[in-house]
Symmetry: C2
Subunit: 415 residues, 2 copies
């Protein structure tokens, strides 16, 4: 059994918006065992929509259509659905009452004819009540295929999916189980990892699929297994993941449901009642920003100093001017002093420090673009490591932030 997604609207095709709806829908469908065969983004155009509907109908049992339902969209989508289904539009009393209520409560302008038309639905459609907007969801059938039309506004679409569409698919269709688990690794590139895992990968059972998902020096490994016996699928994947730990246990930092590394660091710090402070030069606040993006960070994050200018390292972090003079501002010694001093000045248990050159030109030191030092101070001592992070400014920063978290993660784990 497979599904397709059709998104209708020019916004996606002119690059005005990123299609995050399809990612949400795909993920939700996969979780209930429905594979998505194709996602197609088409224009607000009758012929084009018809063609996409017909192609999807020939392949899939469930077709989810988003967009093309707003009050200014001229109803092309609904009219085209009627043509496709050999049906006609009728006014739905429940939808019309709901529109009137929304206007009375929240919108407070008179209802226009365009809004009135939002109550029109194909006569044989099952209306899916959209509590958060004026455009209803609609569930329609052609042969054995379900066509489900949803508004494009993300939170309206998401609520309709969760509350009505997914339960109805589960009820009406027999589906295999799909079990996914995603292992998070760091510090090794995609091809080196693939080589290291070659034996293991070649011996995976045929119903388990592996995908490498790389992102700035971290690779996520996703295992997916499809079949009828959910428990057996889970057991099979668990046993493969156990083997995986034997190959690369030292570079695994968890699984997807554990959350990103900054979240895991936060959980460990909170559990162990420990605190963190940051001293950032070229990363410019990116580490602090990532740390504080986790709700509840105030429990373990004291704060930090963004010491972009050399004088700020001296004045705010008490890094000795002679140390900078002697070793240069991009050096192991300065990274160590920054990490130690931010820890003691802010009264935290751990300190992270970054100093380096992200480019595009050389800064206050002679260091090559891409040369960075990351310092880690723990209650047991302080060290700094040197890295070459390439030449792109954005990548140098993002890879260094990732690397800093990886070093810190290991320290806290072993503390």
């Amino acid at each position: 059994m497979q599904a397709e997604i059709i998104t209708i609207g020019d916004e996606i095709l002119i690059g005005q918006i990123i299609d995050s709806n399809s990612a949400f829908i795909s993920k939700a469908l996969n979780e209930i065992g429905v594979a998505v065969y194709q996602i197609t983004s088409v224009q607000d155009n009758r012929e084009h929509i018809l063609q996409a509907l017909e192609e999807a109908n020939s392949r899939s049992s469930v077709v989810i259509i988003t967009g093309g339902l707003g009050p200014t969209k001229d109803d092309i989508t609904k009219k085209t659905l009627c043509q496709f289904l050999d049906d006609e539009l009728v006014s739905d009393k429940a939808v019309w009452d709901h529109i009137q209520e929304l206007f009375k409560k929240h919108i407070k302008t008179p209802i226009s004819d365009l809004n009135k038309e939002q109550a029109m639905v194909p006569s044989r459609a099952t209306v899916l009540h959209n509590a958060y907007g004026t455009a209803p969801g609609m569930w329609m059938k052609k042969g054995n295929t379900a066509f489900i039309s949803l508004p494009g506004v993300p939170y309206e679409m998401k609520n309709l999916m969760n509350d009505l569409v997914l339960p109805k698919i589960v009820e009406e269709f027999d589906r295999p189980h799909i079990v996914h688990r995603t292992v998070l690794t760091y510090g090794m590139g995609e091809s080196a990892l693939a080589e290291k895992l070659e034996d293991w990968e070649n011996n995976l059972p045929s119903h388990i699929k592996l995908a490498y998902l790389p992102n700035f020096s971290r690779v996520r490994l996703r295992l997916s297994s499809t079949g009828k016996d959910k428990q057996a699928l889970e057991d099979d994947i668990a046993s493969e993941i156990k083997k995986l730990y034997q190959y690369i246990g030292d570079i695994i930092y968890g699984e997807e449901e554990d959350g990103e590394i900054e979240m895991q660091i936060g959980n460990m710090l909170a559990q162990k009642n420990l605190t963190l402070a940051t001293a950032e030069s070229f990363t410019g606040g990116s580490i602090a920003q990532a740390v504080t993006s986790v709700p509840g960070a105030s429990q373990y994050f004291k704060g930090g100093v963004v010491c972009y200018a050399t004088e700020v390292k001296i004045n705010m972090l008490d890094v000795p001017a002679e140390l900078i003079e002697k070793h240069s501002v991009v050096s192991e010694e300065v990274a160590i002093a920054m990490a130690e001093n931010v820890k003691s000045k802010l009264g935290s248990d751990f300190g992270i420090a970054t100093t380096g050159n992200a480019g595009p030109t050389k800064g206050d030191s002679d260091a090559d673009v891409g040369t960075v030092y990351i310092g880690i101070s723990t209650p047991n001592g302080t060290y700094a490591q040197k890295f070459s992070m390439g030449r792109s400014r954005e990548r140098v920063v993002r890879k260094s932030v990732n690397k800093a978290f990886e070093l810190l993660y290991k320290e806290i784990l072993n503390f």
Copy 2:
């Protein structure tokens, strides 16, 4: 003339990643006068890829294919392209040399057979040099249609598009002119803006289209005009933008090519030889991060203090404990003290400060979630303003960062 985009890979179809590549490509193509007819996301599967290629070939002059080129992808994409084009894979010496160089310089592990295969390209393909990765771009022809295969890594894809693909499309295809100009506004929501601009919008010439692009309390207004006479198109849009200034000149902060507001602030500071420092509580380094994302920021950005914990405000920024005691940590008085003190301690001309509660729960103060104060210190004085930024943590932070830059922008502009 129209184009299509085909994305290859299961990651999008299982909802693991959001397809931001297609939005980038669509936008870039539209800017050079090439409309995107359809975006199709297909599986890593030979039959499926072939079918998508054939359908695109029957409709469009340019087909851009992303993904399916990584070293672990089993070469399905390239083999399928060969089948489609009736061609065969050959090893490309320049690509092979480049792979060897990348490994020697940056990767430092031995080259695997998988990497070696990345040097294989269809014999009649024009290789597009990928300076940032091992998978080359490829430009192929079937009849009059160009098929352009690009790696799915966003950074590599974007560089190939900008440096090689777009110029080659411009050179090889006749296109109508599309002139876009995008005006940047702040401080007014989409519907209030639409109401204010109703008259102007209704009187726009029919060949000029207007789009509202909202993003966290800022709305960009994009005017697009398509036709044969480029100069006439430019003149028409310029005349409409002149009128636009009469309606909302007070909330326009520039046009898209001027860059985002933090870039404009940076340019103004550099030109006027002025400097900036930041004191951030709940924004946790987001302002410093945005400031330092602009290349050359070291010219005008001294640094900042991320004073997440109340004690850091006292110890690192000398905010008097009595002031916090008396007015609460989320108050006008504390925001003013933070902005003034970071300015004087870091020796900058301007200081920005944020204190507030981003949620999800109340912090060190009684302030409601979403209550924030932004302080601005200039050489002429200091003030702070209170805002209610809603209840979503991420939105509170992003809207506050935007607002802080808007306040600062006005101060520097008028200085």
